[in-house]
């Protein structure tokens, strides 16, 4: 794309009329794409005036990675130069969240753009339901080549049949969790041995294989790493690189805290909390190295100018905050995720941050809009393209949090609402509601429920929660 053309696009404000035109064009194209998938082929497709041609899309998803455990968010010792580079060349969201802090529901939300109660994958024991379309399927119908490489993690009887994927590399052992070393793969439905010992390196190789194919169509790669899921194993050459770093655990935490809070065995079975924390960092740095290898491959090819790269994580991770190790809960450390987008022709101010609330459910509509594919009106998420284009675009004011009990994690089913300044949750069993003022009490230590202030705020928050669950956007 020429600079002149880019400037024209950047300076052209997107009106509601433009959006409707885009949707209409996209709808028609989508219709023909569905009716004549072969005929669409690699034909020019310019529903959205963003890229000179339909962009390639690379989405990288990590597991349990906290946004403040990255170099660009200034972690004291964890190094992530590749992700830092993406943030420097694109934008990062300071307020990105998952709508369910649990792997499978959050992954299904990334794939569909829907809340868990809409897509139906409620916890990690549930297989892919298929009741909502993945954005990959919509892209395929619009003529994209599609690849899914890595952790699928919606454990059913093996992996689901997803015929809209041109490449599907995954694994089903250990409840779809896979293993860091010598993980047997399933490649397009057939068992296959891993060529590399370390899973993360193998997945990167497979991703590079996919993008290196002679694509006649634009492609979308969904690369889903196992890192940094327990047991946080780094590649062998990086094991111990943070062994001498001082770990600064939050107040209240101690080395005996286990993943099952208070369970005395956990800390003993798997080592001290400090050691786990360091290993978690080493695993993240190992994954970052692989992301760097992939980015280098993209940037050294003709793909660079027309490829969007997005990085996010399925959920955060609590390292002793509230004396909890793990995810599941509604607390900030558990629900905040890193979200970085590099899209040179769309982002006028690379290296900046966006403060709007970005969600896992926003990925699918964002990617569809970038690709010029119509975003179905009933998708829960919202495209972040306007926010990417203009950092001053107002974002949402609230979103729905939900969690469904997942044995054996000792966390009750809950639902709540997160506004820009507050978090309110109700539990199905065992706990009274919690309301936190995130401005005055960012550590969420003072429950306002039952106080005069809480009594004043709760009715409005309950109403918001109800509206959001019913599909209303706030």
């Amino acid at each position: 794309m020429s600079d002149k053309k880019k400037n024209q696009i950047m300076s052209h404000p997107v009106t509601r009329r433009d959006m409707l035109k885009t949707m209409a064009t996209g709808s028609a194209a989508g219709f023909f794409g569905m009716a004549l998938p072969g005929a669409l082929g690699g034909a020019p497709f310019s529903a959205l005036p963003l890229a000179p041609k339909r962009p390639n899309i690379v989405f990288i998803l990590s597991d349990n990675c906290r946004p403040d455990f990255m170099g660009f968010t200034v972690h004291p010792f964890i190094k992530t130069p590749a992700i830092d580079g993406l943030a420097a060349q694109g934008v990062s969201f300071d307020n990105a969240f998952c709508t369910t802090s649990l792997c499978s529901p959050s992954r299904a939300s990334f794939l569909t753009g829907d809340y868990a109660h809409t897509h139906g994958v409620l916890n990690n024991h549930m297989p892919w339901t298929g009741q909502r379309k993945m954005f990959l399927e919509r892209l395929k119908q619009a003529g994209y080549d599609t690849g899914f490489v890595g952790k699928f993690h919606m454990p059913g009887n093996g992996l689901p049949d997803l015929p809209f994927l041109d490449t599907f590399v995954s694994f089903d052992i250990k409840e779809n969790q896979g293993q860091y070393f010598d993980c047997p793969l399933i490649v397009d439905g057939k068992p296959e041995a891993s060529r590399k010992e370390y899973l993360i390196e193998e997945l990167t190789d497979r991703a590079i294989d996919f993008i290196g194919q002679d694509h006649e169509n634009p492609f979308c790669l969904y690369l889903s790493y196992k890192t940094a899921h327990f047991p946080f194993l780094p590649p062998k050459d990086l094991a111990g690189i943070y062994a001498n770093e001082k770990v600064d655990l939050p107040p209240g935490a101690d080395s005996w805290l286990g993943r099952t809070n208070g369970n005395v065995f956990e800390g003993t079975m798997v080592g001290s909390l400090d050691a786990l924390y360091r290993r978690y960092g080493e695993a993240i740095t190992g994954m970052d190295r692989e992301i760097g290898r992939l980015i280098k491959k993209i940037d050294s090819s003709p793909l660079a100018d027309n490829t969007v790269v997005i990085y996010a994580s399925d959920n955060g991770y609590m390292w002793g905050e509230h004396r909890i190790i793990g995810i599941n809960w509604h607390y900030e450390e558990s629900i905040r995720i890193p979200f970085v987008v590099r899209c040179p022709w769309l982002i006028p101010d690379p290296g900046t941050r966006r403060s709007q609330m970005m969600l896992n459910i926003d990925l699918a509509p964002t990617v569809l809009e970038m690709a010029g594919v119509p975003v179905p009106a009933d998708v829960d998420g919202q495209s972040a393209v306007p926010i990417l284009r203009d950092g001053g675009t107002p974002g949402r004011s609230a979103w729905f949090y939900e969690y469904y009990k997942y044995f054996p994690e000792n966390v009750p089913t809950m639902q709540g609402v997160r506004t820009r300044t507050r978090m309110y949750v109700e539990f199905e069993k065992g706990m009274r509601p919690q309301l936190f003022d995130l401005v005055r009490d960012p550590g969420e230590h003072v429950n306002l429920f039952g106080t005069a202030e809480g009594d004043r705020l709760v009715p409005g928050l309950k109403a918001m929660m109800k509206d959001l669950k019913a599909g209303k956007r706030l």
Partner: protein, 192 residues
Amino acid sequence: MKKQRFSRRFFSPVFLIFVIMSISWGVYNLAWRLGNVTVHHLLADIFGTLLFLSVTFGTCVVYPMAFLRGASLPERVLASLVNPLIWATKECIRMFGAFSLTESLYYYCNPLNIWLLLGIIAQMSIIEMILRHRRKKAGENIRVFSIPVVAAFVISMALVVGLYAWGRGENIFSSYLVFYKTLFGPGVGLSY
């Protein structure tokens, strides 16, 4: 060996470990509220260790005390299992804060409890052999390496090590979850 009264040969060894376990649990879980990081970490390290030792290796105290006070084999075995069972029940009750009664009961069978049980069997059998050896040295006509005791030790240790070696314990945990799903499905629709 003189058989002492029940409270001395059974109850007091169990109670001794129960008190250590309870105090350790209480101090460990309350220490952070002191607000002093140094004191908290010191207490957490001391009482976390004591809690772990009392639950996992309390048998090493209970079993020989019961043995030396004349407890029968069933009494010794039962005494060794009481405190771990109390701990497992506490964990089960904790689970009931989020899950149904049946799911909470299923939590009794989790791999950590299986390991704990196997570890206790291994401890009991090795202590039994050591104590028999001492009695034999003292002139008693007793067989040190009886088949049931040796078999209990070998099988339990093999399972403790083998289950961990099998994928660093992840595979047994996965199997536990697979069986959970067979019984309860995904669990989200279960009423309380």
